[in-house]
């Protein structure tokens, strides 16, 4: 989102792609955090027989959540550079926005150029 706000050349496709990637990253981050915290707490409680307080679970969750967010962000940036070239600084959202722009604009202009409207008018 920050990169979308900072660059006046960004358009609605960039915003839509950034929002989509943010949702995907949030879901992945939450899943990864839940998985890791569950494994740690399971071993602590079942394996070591330790009593783990709510504060400890919260502390571990916050730390793992930050780590998961950082990991996913780094992976997103790397994949973005692999798929969109070294000049792509927006991660995968930059690649998705480019595809959306090409595909949606192509179909929109196809309609706008009258191919479909002509068919409708001729059908009437």
């Amino acid at each position: 989102m920050a990169e979308w706000k900072d660059d006046v050349n960004k358009d609605g496709y960039d915003l839509a792609a950034a929002l989509f990637m943010n949702v995907v990253k949030a879901v992945l981050g939450a899943a990864l955090t839940a998985l890791f915290v569950t494994i740690i707490i399971a071993i602590l409680m079942i394996g070591a027989g330790a009593a783990v307080s709510v504060i400890a679970v919260a502390g571990i969750t916050i730390v793992v959540g930050v780590l998961a967010g950082y990991l996913i962000d780094v992976v997103d940036k790397k994949l973005g550079k692999m798929a969109g070239g070294e000049e792509n600084k927006d991660g995968l959202s930059g690649v998705i926005a480019k595809h959306m722009r090409e595909n949606i604009q192509y179909h929109w202009y196809y309609l706008k150029n009258g191919l479909w409207w002509n068919f409708e008018e001729s059908a009437l």
Binding site: I43, G47, I55, A58, G59
Partner: protein, 270 residues
């Protein structure tokens, strides 16, 4: 009671102990923790020195070697059908020590690639050293006392004709009832540590500039102190109970130590 090769008659631990804790599966499950810690640490190591190529970063190389080792270890307990020997059971607790990697990698990054002043580095290293030493020492002092006292040792290690059994319920009785000992650092310590790390986010650019690394490294160095202590403490306990003392028992009695999770412990006071 079942016959084991070369051991004689031992308790039917497979039918009495919960299957979920059988080392053949639980140890493999536990080995996922250090592997995940390596995966989580890799971006921290590479992000600390983005000007160095990924595979030329020494921290990354060490992490990759560790990751490969843990990846190879995961199927070992399943393939070799680890039974209830203490050394197999203790592996799960040692794996929890891997959590400390999440503190060690940011610390190493700050030392190798950061621009933090030397006094700040010394304070951080001193904090880590003293907190981990004192926390692990608590486990060592407690269990050394238990092991050297015949009346207490029998509660944890029960000797029979065929083998010696680590009685988990006896261990839990000593920790919870007799010593009232928590294996997790106190809530206020966790709250202060994670809370301070979160508070630093208010001026994250200044903090990142101070240590010369991304803010996430500074966050982890502060927030991970008690969480790293948890991993180090549990690993120390695992080493003492399932490796050091069983080795001493084996030397004295010649008997192998097995883990009895649900059996009732004996006590000389009864």
């Amino acid at each position: 009671m079942v016959e084991l090769r070369g051991v004689g008659i031992v308790r039917a631990l497979d039918s009495s102990n919960p299957q979920i804790l059988r080392p053949s599966s639980f140890a493999s499950f536990s080995a996922i923790v250090p592997l995940l810690c390596v995966i989580f640490s890799l971006p921290l190591a590479s992000g600390a020195a983005s000007e160095i190529a990924f595979f030329e970063n020494p921290i990354v190389v060490i992490l990759l070697a560790l990751g490969a080792a843990f990846l190879l270890i995961i199927p070992v307990p399943i393939v070799f059908r680890w039974d209830w020997k203490a050394c197999y059971y203790g592996f799960s607790l040692l794996c929890l020590g891997g959590i400390s990697l999440l503190a060690a990698v940011p610390l190493l990054s700050v030392v190798l690639y950061g621009r933090a002043p030397i006094y700040a580095l010394l304070v951080i290293l001193f904090l880590y050293g003293i907190s981990h030493f004192l926390w692990c020492r608590k486990f060592v002092v407690l269990y050394r006392g238990v092991f050297s006292d015949d009346n207490l040792r029998i509660i944890i290690y029960q000797e029979e004709n065929d083998a010696v059994y680590y009685m988990r319920r006896g261990d839990e009785f000593l920790l919870r009832k007799r010593y009232k000992f928590s294996q997790i650092p106190s809530d206020w310590l966790i709250g202060v540590s994670v809370g301070s790390a979160l508070l630093m986010a208010v001026d994250m650019h200044a903090v990142a500039g101070f240590i010369g690394l991304p803010f996430v490294h500074a966050f982890l160095i502060i927030a991970m102190i008690p969480i790293s202590c948890i991993g180090a403490g549990i690993a120390t306990r695992g080493f003492l109970l399932f490796y050091l003392f069983p080795a001493k028992i084996k030397k004295i009695t010649g008997k192998t130590v097995y883990v009895d999770v649900v059996g009732k412990y004996r006590s000389n006071n009864k």
